[in-house]
């Protein structure tokens, strides 16, 4: 491994993505799920910026998209935390497994 290539970054992004997805699937704490979402978004962001670096065609779009993703993540976090707080108010816990009212 002499030179860092695009694939390395993509692998890193994939690791983050998988960790985030598993985090969403494994954490019973609602805030843990939220963290998983953030991880997924970060994995995607790494991909965006890496593509922007390694593909001259995507030079700006990649960063722009990364920025948009970050801003959206902020909005998403605010909303998600508000939801979690409401959830906590209603259920006295943040265990997402208690939110099974819509169980079939």
């Amino acid at each position: 491994m002499s030179e860092v290539s695009l694939d390395h970054y993509l692998v890193l992004g994939a690791v983050l993505f998988v960790c985030g997805a598993l985090c969403m699937a494994m954490k019973r704490n609602a805030i843990g799920v939220l963290m998983g979402v953030e991880l997924v978004l970060n994995g995607a962001n790494i991909n965006f910026v890496a593509f922007a670096r390694y593909n001259p065609v995507f030079r700006l779009e990649g960063q722009v998209f990364a920025l948009f993703v970050i801003v959206m993540a902020a909005a998403e976090a605010a909303i998600a935390l508000a939801i979690v707080l409401n959830f906590y108010n209603n259920h006295m816990t943040v265990d997402v497994d208690t939110a099974e009212e819509l169980k079939g």
């Binding site: 939110a99 099974e100 079939g104």
Partner: protein, 761 residues
């Protein structure tokens, strides 16, 4: 001054109380409607009197009836101009009669036209153009009508005036009725001053319309109208059980009579096809002759109409309601149940006199005879002052019926007029006493009231003397005529001696119980200190009518010369009433009994003497018992305990009716209900059961086959859903895993298909 149609004066006089009635009804209804939201229509509501009953109602009603009286007075003057009385010198029942000679025929025809008229009201039976019958509203004025009209409007006017005083308690916004007990004590209700005069106005209109009518149908309408007024006024204090019961009793009893009336009407309609009196009388001889009207039908019709009169005039089998009707306010008793309405029966008998055959008249006579005796005996023992007067009324009405039954047409109606005056006087007097004693009606608690209420006492004494037949008082003339008629009839028909004995004996009884009443009320020591202390003379609203009525009671039948009963202006030979005696019709029907007439004519003096003796004895005994107190009424009561009990229970008529009519009716109703419940309902229930069974089978088919298919479909889908729903765990985390798995699956699928595509051609 010459009027083309002076009869219209009477029509106007009839309509005046109707206008008053409608005005009061409108105002009262408007006020009732406004009472719920009195703020919105405050001005109008206050103008209509607000919460407080308004005296204006009385003034409107009194003004209307006074207008009627004035109009009828003017009409009377015109009538006298058109119908001059025949001179005395002419022989009775001869050419002198206004409608007698052929020469007078034309003029009288035109004269009759001026005093009659009618409008088409409704047409009945117009199945084709040939056979249609017109129901007309019409008027026809003859001397009987004018006199009755005058009498009714006059008495009604003064009773209205009297009522303004008597009903003044109803002027309060809240009246406490001491005779009605509720949980909170006595009943409190709104004053009903206006309502009283509303009813009175309606009654006056109906009564005047009854007098005015020229056909039986109009009479029947008015008949029912006065009936309903009587019902409403008897039940004026409808919160009192006794009052509402009495009202119901009066109404139901009258229905019995009216059933007969309707039968009579139907028979006449069927055979003669008209209701107009003149046409009836005109067609009757012809119909009897050619047999289109069977004799029995006429008898039945006559008896039917008489049954109506029995009900209305409280004659023997149906007399039970009148004493109870005294539950109404005393002015009502005076006007309706003494002077006018109850006399309507007698008036009608007089009106349709030619319709009564010999047999029917005999029935009338006996009915009257029994009634007058029966009522007089009961009056002997009554202690309620109004009950005494009520039985007295029944008795006097019996006199009238008797007189009519034995051919004394003039005598009967003459007594009707005089009786109206003095009985109104007596009732108003009793009302004054009751009012003065604070609604105390029991004579056993009165006594010694003469110093307290002199005007009442004196006017009542006049009334008592009049009813007793004291010479030169109006009752003397009419009663003498009746007794003379009875005596004459006895002389002709010896087998009917009862028709003489009963009125003669009853004349004595009358004198006795009337004086008994007067003595008990006004003389002797007071029996109840409390009542005596608080007794007072009535206000002028009440005493003035008493005085006026007393004057009229004395002089209403005076003639010239004054001491001769035969020369009475009103009822004597060639007097006013005789003008309208249907002599021609009777002649046509061959009912005129010349022998009887001459016998009557001859027996006047003897009848007078007999009447004096009977009345004198009655007065003597009354004085012995109640004035000088030589005899003790309590001893008499003990010695004749059985008789007293019999009389006290009014001959057990109420009990008899209860046992014979009321209870069987109840039992029949009960049986009918059972029949309804078990037979009819049973059948219906069986039918319903059968239907139910049928639908149950239908339902089973529906459930099993139709619904089964539908449910099967649903169940299959439900099962699919139940299987699928296991995948909706409700856990977000599972969904994420599913998502990831799906992504992986799609990736592999895509790869596979892409490889396929790449490998493909």
């Amino acid at each position: 001054m010459h009027l083309e149609n002076p009869g219209l004066l009477y029509v106007a006089a009839t309509l005046a109380p109707l206008a008053s009635f409608l005005l009061l009804l409108l105002a009262g209804g408007l006020r009732l409607a406004l009472r719920k939201n009195r703020e919105r229509g405050a001005a109008l509501y206050q103008m209509l009197g607000g919460d407080r009953p308004h005296r204006a109602a009385a003034f409107i009603a009194t003004g209307a009836i006074a207008l009627s009286f004035i109009l009828s007075l003017v009409g009377f003057v015109y009538f006298l101009q058109d119908h001059p009385l025949p001179p005395h010198a002419e022989s009775p029942h001869a050419a002198g009669h206004p409608e007698g000679g052929p020469a007078a025929e034309a003029s009288s025809g035109s004269t009759a036209d001026r005093w009659a008229g009618s409008v088409r009201w409704a047409e009945i039976g117009r199945f084709n153009s040939t056979k249609s019958t017109v129901l007309a509203l019409g008027y026809r004025i003859d001397s009987l009508s004018t006199v009755m009209f005058l009498m009714v409007s006059f008495i009604a006017t003064f009773i209205h005036i009297f009522s303004i005083g008597y009903m003044s308690e109803e002027l309060a916004p809240v009246v406490e009725d001491h005779q009605v007990h509720t949980e909170e004590g006595h009943l409190h209700r709104r004053g009903r001053f206006g309502r009283f005069f509303l009813y009175l106005s309606l009654f006056c209109f109906s009564m005047l319309n009854l007098i005015l009518a020229d056909n039986l149908f109009q009479v029947f309408l008015s008949w029912e109208l006065v009936g309903i007024c009587s019902y409403l006024l008897i039940g004026f204090y409808y919160e009192r059980t006794s009052a509402s019961n009495a009202a119901n009793k009066a109404f139901i009893t009258n229905r019995v009579g009216d059933a007969g009336f309707i039968i009579g009407l139907l028979i006449l309609w069927t055979y003669l096809g008209t209701f107009n009196f003149q046409e009836l009388f005109h067609k009757l001889p012809q119909a009897l002759q050619d047999g289109s009207l069977p004799k029995w039908a006429l008898i039945v019709a006559g008896l039917g109409i008489f049954l109506g009169c029995v009900g209305k005039s409280a004659q023997f089998p149906l007399h039970v309601w009148l004493p109870d009707a005294m539950e109404g306010p005393t002015p009502v008793s005076a006007l309706i149940h003494a002077a006018t309405m109850v006399a309507a029966g007698v008036y009608l008998v007089g009106r349709v006199y030619p319709l009564f055959t010999e047999e029917a008249r005999l029935v009338i006579a006996y009915t009257g005879g029994i009634t007058l005796f029966l009522a007089a005996t009961v009056a002997l023992v009554m202690t309620d002052i109004k009950k005494v007067l009520a039985y007295s009324t029944v008795s006097q009405l019996g006199y009238m019926m008797l007189a009519l039954g034995i051919g004394g047409w003039v005598a009967g109606l003459f007594h009707l007029i005089t009786h109206a005056f003095f009985k109104a006087l007596l009732f108003l007097g009793s009302g004054s006493v009751i009012y003065g004693c604070h609604h105390e009606q029991e004579m056993t608690r009165m006594g010694g009231l003469y110093p307290k209420m002199k005007i009442t006492a004196i006017t009542m004494l006049v009334g008592v003397l009049t009813i007793m037949g004291f010479p030169l008082f109006s009752g003397w003339y009419s009663k003498d005529m009746i007794l003379a008629q009875a005596l004459g009839y006895f002389l002709v028909h010896r087998q009917h001696f009862l028709l003489l004995a009963l009125p003669l004996f009853t004349a004595g009884l009358t004198a006795f119980y009337m004086f008994r009443m007067w003595f008990m009320t006004f003389t002797g020591p007071p029996r109840d200190e409390h009542v005596h202390e608080h007794a007072h003379e009535s206000p002028r609203w009440m005493t003035i009518p008493l005085i006026v009525l007393a004057i009229f009671s004395v002089c209403v039948s005076w003639g010239s010369p004054i001491w001769s009963a035969e020369s009475s202006y009103l009822g004597g030979h060639h007097g006013l009433l005789e003008m309208s005696e249907p002599a021609d019709e009777l002649k046509n029907l061959k009912m005129m009994d010349e022998a009887l007439n001459s016998a009557v004519h001859d027996s006047h003096t003897l009848a007078e003497v007999l009447a004096y003796v009977a009345a004198g004895l009655g007065v003597l005994f009354a004085a012995l018992f109640y004035y000088w107190r030589v005899l003790n009424p309590a001893d008499a009561k003990l010695q004749f305990a059985g008789v007293h009990r019999f009389l006290w229970h009014k001959w057990y008529f109420d009990e008899l009716y209860s046992a014979v009519l009321v209870r069987p009716a109840l039992h029949a109703a009960h049986w009918c209900r059972n029949f309804d419940t078990y037979i009819i309902d049973g059948f219906i229930n069986r039918a319903a059961w059968a239907t139910t069974m049928l639908s149950r089978w239908d339902g089973i088919f529906d459930l099993a086959i139709v619904d089964g298919l539908v449910n099967l479909t649903g169940r299959i889908i439900f099962a699919c859903g139940a299987w699928l729903r296991r995948f909706q765990t409700g856990y977000i985390r599972s969904y994420v895993l599913f998502l990831v798995l799906a992504a992986i699956g799609i990736f592999f699928a895509l790869t596979y298909f892409l490889n396929l595509a790449a490998a493909g051609p």
